[in-house]
């Protein structure tokens, strides 16, 4: 579907499969409709619908193996879908600039390139000249407070530094949507805290639509504008909660009564979702 074919809700063609859903509610970036996916006959998604807001951070949380990775990989176009439709303001994934941060930074960065050249790489693929690339990277670097040298090779860096480089590589192309699948789960707790704040700062400053999978409930709530809670497979929405805590959030947020309350509610939803099956 191309831009020209975008149809506002009022003019939705007769016989559209989801007449009760407006195609593009204001502020929505990603619309998922009738998503189906099964592995070897085992269904993971059996008709899944969701809207993800533009310029906001959505955390995806749910029991192990419920299909969180499957979800963001399908939305990011890394995994084919069996049925359904995923659109980005009416555009397809191919027409959308995206960034993806993998859990396993060790296997996602290119060890034959220095960190800085890893960051150059996506811009190179876009055919951008050297001067412009350097300008953009300089601007990006300014938003991070880096305490390490980007002229080293990834294997000469700590895990947190490598994942920072991964995040920079995904942001340098100024993606419309950023996907992160458990980006901090391979890091120790102290590093995780630092990285969360770093990520929050950059994402809020850039206003990029973000889908973050987390297996850590505290992290999911802390970073998110909305928390998408999934049930056991076949996955359904257990809850889709707003997190309207003020930003910037900092470690003191963790002890804020509203945060604690939200976390307790999400935990309850989670436990019900797990028990329900």
């Amino acid at each position: 579907m191309t831009l020209a074919q975008r149809t506002p809700a009022e003019e939705a063609p007769a016989g559209a499969s989801y007449p009760d859903l407006r195609w593009f509610p204001p502020g929505t970036h990603i619309t998922v409709r009738g998503l189906k996916k099964a592995f070897d006959g085992n269904p993971v998604y059996v008709g899944f619908d969701i809207d993800l807001p533009k310029g906001k951070i959505v955390s995806v949380f749910g029991p192990n193996g419920c299909g969180k990775s499957t979800f963001i990989n399908m939305v990011a176009g890394l995994l084919p879908i069996d049925a359904g439709q995923i659109l980005f303001e009416g555009k397809t994934i191919a027409e959308t600039r995206i960034g993806y941060v993998f859990q396993n930074y060790r296997e996602a960065l290119f060890p034959w390139l220095r960190a800085i050249d890893n960051i150059h790489y996506p811009l190179r693929l876009m055919g951008i000249g050297k001067a412009e690339r350097e300008r953009r990277i300089e601007e990006l670097v300014a938003g991070f407070d880096l305490k390490f040298d980007l002229h080293r090779y990834p294997y000469q860096m700590s895990g947190g530094q490598q994942q920072t480089v991964s995040i920079m590589r995904s942001l340098v192309i100024e993606p419309e949507v950023l996907f992160l699948d458990e980006p901090f789960s391979a890091l120790d707790y102290e590093m995780t805290l630092i990285m969360r704040d770093q990520l929050q700062k950059v994402l809020v400053a850039r206003g990029v639509t973000t889908v973050l999978v987390s297996h850590d409930l505290e992290e999911a709530v802390y970073l998110a504008d909305k928390v998408l809670m999934l049930t056991r497979r076949p996955s359904r929405i257990a809850d889709y909660m707003d997190v309207d805590l003020p930003r910037p959030r900092d470690p003191s947020t963790l002890t804020d009564p509203r945060f604690i309350d939200l976390k307790a509610r999400t935990l309850e939803v989670f436990q019900n979702a797990v028990r329900a099956s």
Partner: protein
């Protein structure tokens, strides 16, 4: 730092020196008849005189040159074909058995066949060695390609890399460590086959020919000396490839 290194080198010298001393002691004590075991000093002298005036240098260079030719052919055909096979799982499955079978077949068993096909000249020796080395390169490159980290390929894909770019920018580097393992094994194997070929497929020169001649004339100092020189050649080639690998594939084993 400096002294650390020196101690390391010192320790590395202990083994060879000990071997030399044991050899010398066995010789002095007359435990083995000098006909079968000349003194190490006598052996080194023979290497020296042969190198100066006995044609050891040209023989060494001939063997080296043949080995490098065989290796060059193996690499030139092994790397590209290996990449193609590794990138195509069905193709790999269909010829996996053939590769394994011929890799397990002693190259020396092929000598007569290659002599019939390529004649008695130099090329038939090079061809046998190249064939054996080629299989090793092929196998390792294909294996490297097949075991490329999927995440890196996905990462390139997400960034919008075309298939050709993924090949050139990711696959090539991903299989480089394994490729080097293959190249290093291949050069050693090529040397083995070349030396044996020089012994048994009529040859006018080369270290293999010199070894066989020493046996026929019962010149044991020269026999031991030439074995030593062959060892130095093999070890040297291996060392050069290890160095190249460390320099070109700096991330190997660290990422």
């Amino acid at each position: 730092m400096q002294s650390d290194r020196l101690t390391r080198y010192a320790w590395m010298a202990v083994g060879p020196l000990a071997l030399f001393l044991v050899w010398y002691a066995v010789h002095l004590a007359g435990l083995v008849t000098p006909k079968l075991l000349p003194s190490p000093v006598r052996t080194l002298q023979s290497v020296w005189t042969n190198a100066i005036s006995g044609g050891l240098g040209p023989d060494f260079l001939r063997t080296l040159w043949r080995t490098l030719q065989a290796f060059g052919i193996a690499a030139a055909f092994g790397v590209p074909i290996g990449i193609v096979i590794g990138a195509n799982e069905k193709l790999y499955r269909s010829i996996e058995f053939l590769i394994d079978f011929f890799r397990s077949t002693p190259a020396t068993a092929m000598f007569p066949l290659f002599m019939i096909i390529f004649g008695l000249g130099d090329f038939s020796k090079i061809a046998v060695a190249a064939f054996a080395a080629w299989l090793v390169v092929l196998f390792n490159v294909a294996y490297g390609v097949m075991n490329a980290r999927q995440t890196r390929i996905l990462a390139a894909k997400v960034m919008g890399a075309s298939r050709a770019r993924i090949f050139k920018d990711v696959m090539f580097y991903e299989c480089l460590p394994q490729t080097f393992v293959g190249l290093r094994t291949a050069v050693s194997l090529a040397l083995v086959v070349i030396v044996v070929a020089e012994m048994f497929i009529g040859s006018d020169d080369g270290l293999g020919k010199r070894i066989i001649d020493s046996q026929i004339t019962f010149d044991l100092p020269q026999l031991y000396g030439t074995i030593l020189v062959s060892g130095i050649l093999g070890y040297g080639l291996n060392l050069i490839f290890l160095g190249l690998e460390k320099w070109l594939v700096h991330w190997s084993g660290r990422a």
